[in-house]
Symmetry: C2
Subunit: 325 residues, 2 copies
């Protein structure tokens, strides 16, 4: 259990974390020691529109709050897949969430609930969650890569999320790994996420005629387990792209820990050897120090924990860095 | 003139900055407002050995101190081309400085002078100098790339140098831009500095039979000015590599400002168009925001200013971020 320094916190304080995922919405009340007091999972469809989604969020928060019978609600943190202008709480450029672009999401939820709300990008929240209660315990500086349909990133420097001047930092899926690589919707060629996400795995499998047109990353994994050399080659290619990006990140940040999370993590055994080979070759910092690249441990819960941690962090709590992992 | 908040500083405080360059050693006394009180330039040869170099540094600091007739010496900052373990003041892995690896440089100079000494990597010091008195005034978050024989980097987040856990952060010259590119002494292939430094310019020129074997980057520049298409192509290649790296840095950091400095900056007009073309294509953050990529303005003085600023920063001075550029 990580130690938390309480400055203005009371032991009975709790917060609510909300994680707005692609198909479901989860919310949990969590106390200052990271204990989940209650948790609910609901479904939400991005296609149902902004007001419906906001309604689901408000309902989920109210539902959780009703189930907590004692203690003081410090605030609510919400992880959202999009850029957040942190100071204004406005979501910008979220391709997945139609109607959210430029909308004052934070203030609107706050108005409906009368509770302090903090918005955060979902990958940033996941990084914070891993630092609080997962694989990043006791580590103040870390980078998280989320390997899903795309690749997201969260960067924690000295225990704080690195936001950049507009809240757009950590777009690690759009680092260029192959300057003449696969085209990306962002306008670039060779983005990391076009070579190492679950979607990239599926594209590579299709190009190798592995399975049907609707082959999934899991299918490719199962083929690799059976020893299929082309399926294995797909994950080696994924590992190489990850290794190229991680080596640059390590040379840039010299952080002690880089975490990988997301659905594609299940194929670690197939992509990790190629990844480590690249990192060793491409980063003298990695090969000469005890820099770690590891699996995140909280799975889908990371974003929930991280969202819930936001009000604690704002209130002055600080996870003690020296706490052993 | 940037505003400096004085917390524990007196107006009469000054500091001494030292910049240990490849062929010369410069030292200056600078006051809290960035005014150079006195400056000396001496020569030093890395080949003369550790004790001689340390002797030159100590002599230079004493020489400067003697010329300042009033005020209180707050401390001395020294920029050194190598990794610095910030907490211990030990230099590690500096290929250019034989005998320095693992040596307690800070404590030894401190012992000889009896003055508080702060060591810093030279590129980090240059970034800080540009922020204090150069092109980065009023900008708390910036990245500096130094384009010389190699490529160094300095990252300032919230006005502080990003060191990483071992002082090795900011090795931006070793970002991979071409996974199968030119081999680098670090063990990698396609490092930025093998495609965009002055040395890379010379290598490309030689491969194109531009001039003699001892062709310099300046010769290539002069050929480009005369309209030589191959010389121009060399700088375009340099610009492309820089653009690929900068696009990734912008996607990672979302900082408002990226500065380029160093000898190769003179060929800006020839490499910048290709650089901006790549950045626009490869970073949606760049193309959708007013992110700036600009020339640093202090030249060789940046490291000197930055080194001198270190004692002020330690003493609690803070350049006011809102100060207009």
């Amino acid at each position: 259990m990580p130690l938390v320094c309480y400055s203005r916190l009371r032991m009975t304080d709790y917060s609510i974390g909300v994680d707005l995922g692609g198909t479901n919405l989860r919310a949990a009340a969590i106390d200052a020691e990271g204990k989940i007091l209650t948790k609910i999972t609901g479904s939400t469809q991005y296609s149902s529109g902004r007001d419906a989604i906001l309604g689901h969020i408000v309902t989920a928060i109210k539902g959780v709050q009703l189930q907590v019978t004692s203690g003081n609600l410090l605030g609510v943190g919400i992880g959202i897949p999009g850029f957040i202008q942190i100071e204004t709480g406005v979501v910008i450029g979220s391709a997945n969430l139609p109607g959210f672009d430029g909308y004052p999401v934070r203030d609107e939820i706050q108005r409906q609930l009368g509770i302090p709300i903090i918005l955060e990008n979902d990958a940033n929240a996941a990084a914070l969650g891993e630092q609080w209660m997962g694989a990043g315990r006791g580590v103040k500086d870390l980078v998280l890569l989320t390997l899903g349909t795309g690749i997201g990133g969260g960067i924690l420097a000295d225990g704080r999320i690195l936001h950049g001047f507009l809240g757009m930092a950590g777009e690690l899926g759009h680092m260029t790994v192959y300057p003449d690589g696969n085209p990306c919707g962002c306008g670039n060629f060779g983005c990391l996420e076009k070579h190492a996400s679950a979607t990239a795995v599926m594209s590579m499998a299709r190009a190798l005629s592995l399975g049907d047109l609707d082959v999934t990353a899991e299918d490719v994994y199962n083929l690799a387990v059976e020893g299929n050399p082309r399926a294995k080659a797909v994950f080696e290619s994924m590992g190489r792209a990850l290794g190229i990006a991680l080596a640059s990140l390590i040379n840039i940040f010299n952080f002690p820990l880089y975490l990988l999370s997301g659905g594609a993590l299940g194929s670690w055994d197939f992509f990790a050897p190629a990844m480590f080979e690249q990192v060793r070759k491409r980063s003298f910092t990695f090969s000469r120090t005890d820099t770690r690249i590891e699996k995140a441990t909280l799975g889908n819960e990371a974003g929930l924990y991280g969202a819930a941690y936001l009000p604690f962090q704002l209130a002055g709590a600080e996870v003690v860095a020296a706490n052993p992992v």
